[in-house]
């Protein structure tokens, strides 16, 4: 009796299992097929996406020689670099404050910290634009950087807090027991131990900044075109193989950064000695 029951049960699950597998594969195809097509066509010798005419790196070469594109890359790096630096410093400070101190309205601050992660980009973009207009700031690289800092602080703070949650407070006490004052304790013990989290957060911020379109679009001005904005204006004239090449390259860089970020957050268990 028992064996029969078990067998029937197994047959049912295997039928359901097969259906789920098919669904899974379909889902992944849906997600990644466009990306594969994009990457493949960036190496296509034909200018038109209709057929495969053999392998070439021409599009990558011509992309690298494009002056307007070069300036967009420069802007992107300036924005990503400075917004990452600023948001990493402030995000880390926010995380330390949230994790270490109890203060009135902490819960509200906690919720507010997650807000930039949750609210739609478009809402954030409109808000920032309104703010800049009210503040009479001229739209340009500076306003883009401020906007990127605005959302990146949250991401950095969340990543660093995750690291701090596992922080063994007795290590700081041990340092103070061994004659290190608060400042020395921070530099010699706390910071090195949360460094993997900080670097992970910074890489994440950098990646988000490079990729951002909506918020950048709303807060940019003349002469401050970043890479995603440039690609968008090119695409409006039709998808060229150079754009495929460019997108593939950005895909590669983003993926590498995210991987590195995750690796740092997971590993680096021992911390990183600074001084």
């Amino acid at each position: 009796m028992k064996t029969i029951g078990v067998r029937r049960e197994r047959r049912k699950t295997s039928w359901v299992g097969r259906l789920l597998t098919v669904h899974g594969i379909a889902g992944y195809l849906f997600l990644y097929l466009p990306i594969v097509v994009l990457v493949v066509f960036s190496f296509n010798a034909s200018r038109y996406a209709s057929a495969w005419r053999g392998f070439t790196l021409d599009w990558y070469v011509s992309m690298l020689q494009d002056q307007a594109l070069a300036s967009a890359v420069k802007n992107t790096l300036i924005v990503a670099g400075s917004s990452t630096l600023i948001s990493t410093v402030f995000g880390t400070m926010v995380a330390l404050a949230m994790e270490r101190y109890r203060f009135r309205g902490k819960l509200a601050f906690d919720a507010l910290l997650y807000l930039p992660i949750i609210i739609p980009d478009i809402a954030m973009a409109v808000m920032l634009l309104l703010f800049f207009i009210l503040a009479r700031l001229r739209l340009g690289l500076v306003t883009i950087i401020i906007s990127h800092v605005a959302f990146n602080i949250s991401f950095v703070a969340v990543v660093v807090r995750a690291r701090l949650a596992y922080f063994d407070m007795s290590l700081e006490e041990a340092a103070q027991d061994l004659y290190a004052d608060e400042w020395q304790t921070f530099w010699r013990v706390t910071l090195p131990l949360i460094m993997p989290g900080i670097l992970g957060g910074a890489l994440m911020a950098f990646t988000l900044s490079i990729d951002d379109f909506v918020i950048t679009f709303f807060t940019s001005g003349p002469g401050s075109t970043t890479l995603p904005l440039r690609i968008y204006s090119l695409v409006k004239l039709g998808v060229t193989p150079e754009i495929n090449a460019l997108s593939s390259l950005m895909l590669l860089i983003s993926m590498a950064l995210v991987m590195l970020s995750l690796l740092l957050q997971k590993g680096g268990g021992g911390g990183i000695e600074i001084v």
């Binding site: 290590l171 103070q176 004659y179 131990l193 021992g270």
Partner: protein, 360 residues
């Protein structure tokens, strides 16, 4: 033993409504091995942290040497701590860990190097300096924590259950080693443990704590032989407690009626009055068993249970109608079995001073 190393003067510490340390006063002499002993949650760690400066007293004063500490931060106190979980810095090598305190005190590099390697020799970990803490066993990490504290030559070393995470055999070995080390270097140790055997083995003096209070301070022998109250007698070793009423008392000796037909002789340090309700404490190993009554103070009983435990045999003996006492006899001979069998009628005897009257 001339100067005092640590003094607590009516110290209390509250966490919100919890009174972790309640009106504790103690004075620890220079070079002493002093233990804080008590069950979990009785305030031992908090007391230690008050000395180290990680907590500030709600009330009372902490002195280290002759100096009132007040709000002196931990990094300005001449004490070092061996933490319960060792708290080694995981991102530094063993050498950097051990040298951390000296580095913070800005000692010259070559002196740091020399003292670190001396300290590692002292705890029998020579040549381990380049490893990371995660590459060491628990016992080795424990030694590093000890070296990291001792290398600073503190006035007082504070240890919070330092052997708690080690297995029994290693713990026993480390107890003796720590004691020998303390004797050799002459630094005052304040040692927190909940293990009464450990405290008895290692300490010059012990403070027994419960519920944030110090119940008794004394040498291991005083604590064991002359417990101040029922809690101490119960916590340290094994004790038979008999409750009854004093029927006769003269200086030094009294008789206590435990049951209608059972009276026992006890010693009385303090004056006791007739009809006082008292508790009598008798250690199981202080009672001897006899086939014939050795004198007129012997108490008759019947053996209810015989339990062989290796080093000794425990007898559960019924005296009177329903009073059961535990008696322990060392197994001196080999393969002789128990001296008395279950159901045997025997006589219990103890020296007068072994049966102590307790007040609380």
């Amino acid at each position: 033993m001339s100067e005092q190393a640590v003094q607590l003067n009516r110290v209390s510490k509250k966490f919100g409504s919890v009174v972790a340390v309640n009106d504790v006063s103690l004075s620890i002499a220079d070079g002493e091995f002093f233990s804080l002993l008590g069950p979990s949650g009785c305030g031992k760690t908090t007391t230690l942290r008050l000395i180290a400066g990680f907590e500030l007293p709600t009330r009372g004063e902490v002195y280290i040497g002759q100096d009132l500490q007040g709000e002196t931060p931990p990094y300005r106190r001449p004490v070092n701590t061996v933490f319960q979980n060792y708290a080694l810095f995981p991102h530094m090598t063993i050498s950097r860990n051990v040298g951390f305190g000296l580095e913070m005190r800005k000692l010259p590099r070559d002196e740091i190097q020399r003292r670190v390697s001396e300290a590692l020799d002292m705890v029998q970990l020579p040549g381990m300096g380049e490893r990371k803490p995660s590459q060491l066993s628990g016992g080795q990490q424990q030694r590093v924590a000890l070296a990291r504290a001792l290398v600073n030559q503190p006035k007082v070393l504070l240890l919070d259950e330092p052997l708690g995470a080690l297995d029994l055999k290693l713990r026993k070995a480390m107890q003796l080693e720590l004691k020998a080390l303390q004797h050799r270097i002459g630094i005052t140790f304040v040692y927190v443990t909940h293990d009464q055997e450990e405290a008895l083995t290692m300490s010059d003096r012990i403070a027994v704590m419960n519920g944030g209070r110090v119940l008794q301070i004394g040498t291991p022998e005083e604590i064991y032989e002359r417990p101040a109250n029922r809690f101490v007698a119960d916590f340290i070793g094994e004790t038979n407690f008999l409750e009854g009423q004093v029927t006769a008392g003269r200086p030094g000796e009294a008789t206590v009626q435990v049951e209608d037909s059972l009276t026992i002789p006890v010693s009385a340090d303090k004056a006791v009055g007739k009809r006082d309700v008292v508790t009598v404490a008798i250690r199981p190993e202080k009672i001897s068993l006899h086939a014939e009554p050795p004198d007129d103070r012997a108490v008759a009983g019947v053996i209810e249970e015989v339990i062989y435990t290796g080093t000794d045999t425990r007898y559960l003996v019924r005296i009177g109608e329903q009073t059961i006492v535990t008696v322990r006899q060392q197994n001196v001979g080999v393969g002789e079995g128990a001296s008395f069998l279950k159901g045997a009628s025997i006589y219990l005897h103890w020296r007068l001073q072994s049966a102590r009257l307790l007040t609380a």
